[in-house]
């Protein structure tokens, strides 16, 4: 076997924001969810603030997520009744008159933005909310749509690879969005320290079935050729927002006039769970026919069908990786976007001291 520099099981940075849950999932009943190997108990205080505590009581590590919410911001351990506040400090030890000063559980920084609850599992002094990746289409009044969550049994990086190279659509999604022009078309990749962009246009092509039906939501009797675009925006460490759409061929979409077309944003953010599993939060947002709940639901379900095809592939890929520990990954030219994503993540891991610096080219 030849040498390969491609990591098959990439670690996850910790000094970053990851989505722990949709905003509506976090409420006055504790929710258990693991992010980046850390089990969390998520809940809201009475005044609505989202809280993420380590889901293991200080005393004997019973999961606090099985406990009950008490008072303004407290949660009571379900086992021996220790009561913690939202800062993770014990405020009552039922069997004694004082409180052990060491009795705390970690309380992780939380930001609520773009319909998601984001958590920071690394150094809390670095938890700058301005580092939350841009997903503004999620709650911008100019956009409408909805999404779902997929728990995928694979390393989160495999999902990022999948989204950074859409030539797989031709093979994985042949009945909906795939078409052979995808692999044939040129693409342009650019990057900076936090972002990678892959820009691909296919001009004067037949719209695939999914896009034809979306075109007809806006232009009911549309027939003919389209210009199709896929502009993939990655933001470190694991958010990918894909500007997608089609417009009637030759009406100026590549130059910036998309008025004769339909535009969507596929919003994706992936949170590692363990090294072999992740939670994939996605939504499909659109900027036309905002009033139509039917379109919202149809698009969400349509994309859910497409993504279940990805999930099947990703789980099978992870299983094959595990079944062939002595085989490596190799590169293809189509991987360049995904390879830049890996490079940025490896740099961050090196900066956090969790990957030997020498193995990562400096930027």
């Amino acid at each position: 076997m030849g040498e390969s520099s491609i990591n098959k099981l990439l670690g996850h940075p910790l000094d970053v924001w990851y989505v722990a849950a949709w905003d509506h999932e976090v409420n006055r009943t504790p929710l258990a969810r693991t992010v980046a190997d850390r089990p969390l108990a998520l809940y809201r205080t009475e005044d609505g603030t989202a809280v993420a505590l380590a889901d293991a009581c200080w005393h004997r590590l019973a999961p606090l997520s099985m406990g009950t919410l008490v008072g303004r911001d407290g949660i009571r351990c379900p086992y021996h009744g220790m009561l913690y506040n939202s800062a993770g400090r014990c405020i009552s030890m039922p069997a004694q008159e004082t409180i052990n000063p060491s009795a705390t559980v970690a309380s992780f920084p939380v930001v609520e933005r773009y319909r998601y609850v984001w958590v920071w599992l690394g150094d809390p002094a670095k938890a700058d909310p301005s580092l939350v990746p841009d997903m503004h289409q999620m709650d911008d009044p100019a956009w409408a749509g909805d999404g779902l969550t997929i728990e995928v049994d694979c390393n989160y990086q495999l999902v990022l690879d999948n989204l950074m190279d859409l030539t797989h659509e031709e093979f994985v999604h042949s009945s909906s969005i795939g078409q052979d022009e995808l692999s044939g078309s040129e693409f342009v990749v650019s990057h900076d320290e936090r972002t990678v962009t892959v820009d691909r246009w296919m001009l004067g092509i037949d719209p695939p079935p999914f896009w034809l039906s979306i075109m007809r939501h806006k232009f009911p009797h549309f027939e003919g050729k389209v210009d199709r675009w896929q502009i993939i925006h990655f933001e470190s460490p694991s958010t990918i927002c894909i500007d997608v759409g089609v417009a009637m061929a030759g009406t100026g979409a590549p130059e910036g006039d998309r008025s004769q077309g339909v535009n969507g944003y596929v919003m994706n953010t992936i949170s590692p769970v363990t090294d072999r599993s992740c939670v994939y939060f996605w939504a499909f947002m659109r900027n036309f026919r905002l009033e139509s709940q039917v379109i919202t639901t149809q698009l969400r379900d349509g994309v859910a069908g497409v993504f279940s095809e990805d999930e099947r592939m990703l789980v099978a890929q992870q299983a094959a990786i595990d079944a062939n520990p002595d085989y490596e990954f190799y590169g293809l030219n189509i991987d360049v976007g995904g390879m830049w994503v890996r490079r940025l993540i490896e740099r961050q891991l090196a900066a956090e001291g969790r990957l030997p610096r020498a193995t990562v080219p400096v930027g």
């Binding site: 970690a106 809390p124 969790r354």
Partner: protein, 337 residues
């Protein structure tokens, strides 16, 4: 097999103890009684503000551990600094630590975080008594870096105890408030606590008299108890340690507790099968019942309430001691579980 360990370097939430060798890189006298010792651990690991290391020391044929807060550490965790105060009453560990020279090797744990700083409180008071600054200095640095609203209160009986005064003045300017006993500027704890509001968090490390005074004032003002944060290694008392006698009639044990050992250690040496966990006066597992007391108790734990301490019926024997107000040597007769 994982190609590398995921958790490396993320000390923030780890409580597992990893013993390792460390090399002494530097040892300098900051004041006549305080030395700063820089260590290079075998396994680098970043020390979050408020962490401490345990050090394993040899005393003749037995070993014992001492805890020291990490004053500061390299950003990549390759070196860390502690500071050690030697007092006439210290239990012998300080003498060993002060004698360390560059190149020497000692056994330490990785940084352990039992005293975490929470980011995000609207206001902070950091209160350091003497060598307690070692736990607090790193917190002040973090609060400064995140632009928090904080006051750093640093006090000692004399300037000899304020080893980090110069650099803290440079770093924190008007946010630093200094009280020096022999200069007549002692801290009035009730005034400090009276000025604190509901939302402020107070982080405290210092001698037990200071801690008890702050705790009492805090409870009297009915401030949220969880906002008072402190760390104690159970090594300071209201009184200087004295030799005293401990008796366990049921086991036929009578032994003398020397000034450099704890009652728990003395009982273990005398063959009693003792229960314990923290060995620093927090958990209450080492509790013994007092049957008879000739002298008084110097309660050094934070497990009992003031009411329980005044009752003199139970002792956390890992830290607390008997003492005789007359100086003639106390005797405590106990029952153990």
């Amino acid at each position: 097999m994982r190609p590398f360990r995921w958790a490396d370097g993320t000390v923030a939430t780890s409580h597992s103890i990893v013993w390792q060798q460390a090399t002494v890189v530097d040892s300098i006298a900051l004041t006549p009684v305080i030395r700063r010792i820089v260590l290079r651990p075998e396994k680098p690991s970043v020390a979050a503000a408020g962490s401490h290391i345990d050090v394993r020391l040899r005393f003749g044929d037995r070993t014992d551990t001492r805890s020291y807060s990490v004053v500061d550490s390299a950003t990549d965790g390759t070196t860390l600094a502690i500071s050690v105060l030697a007092t006439p009453t210290s239990r012998g560990g300080a003498a060993i630590m002060h004698a360390l020279e560059p190149g020497d090797s000692i056994e330490i744990t990785q940084p352990i975080l039992d005293f975490p700083l929470r980011i995000g409180a609207p206001r902070y008071v950091l209160l350091a008594g003497g060598i307690g600054i070692t736990a607090i200095a790193g917190m002040a640095a973090v609060l400064k870096s995140v632009g928090a609203d904080y006051t750093l209160v640093y006090l000692g009986r004399s300037r000899r105890e304020l080893a980090y005064l110069e650099e803290l003045t440079a770093a924190h300017g008007s946010r630093l408030e200094v009280h020096v006993g022999d200069e007549g500027t002692s801290l009035v704890v009730t005034e400090l606590v009276a000025a604190i509001d509901e939302s402020a968090e107070l982080y405290l490390c210092g001698p037990i008299r200071l801690m008890d005074a702050v705790r009492r004032a805090w409870i009297e003002r009915e401030l949220p108890i969880a906002n008072l944060r402190f760390e104690t290694f159970g090594n300071s008392g209201w009184f200087a340690p004295e030799k005293f006698t401990v008796r366990v009639p049921r086991l036929g044990i009578e032994t003398v507790v020397g000034t450099s050992q704890s009652m728990l250690e003395a009982l273990e040496e005398a063959g009693a099968d003792m229960m314990f966990d923290c060995r620093k006066g927090e958990c209450g597992l080492c509790e013994v019942r007092v049957l008879e007391l000739d002298g008084d108790i110097d309660h050094r734990d934070v497990f009992y309430s003031e009411r329980q301490k005044n009752a003199r019926g139970k002792i956390c024997c890992c830290v607390s001691r008997a003492m005789s107000p007359s100086g003639s040597g106390a005797t405590v007769t106990i029952e153990i579980s």
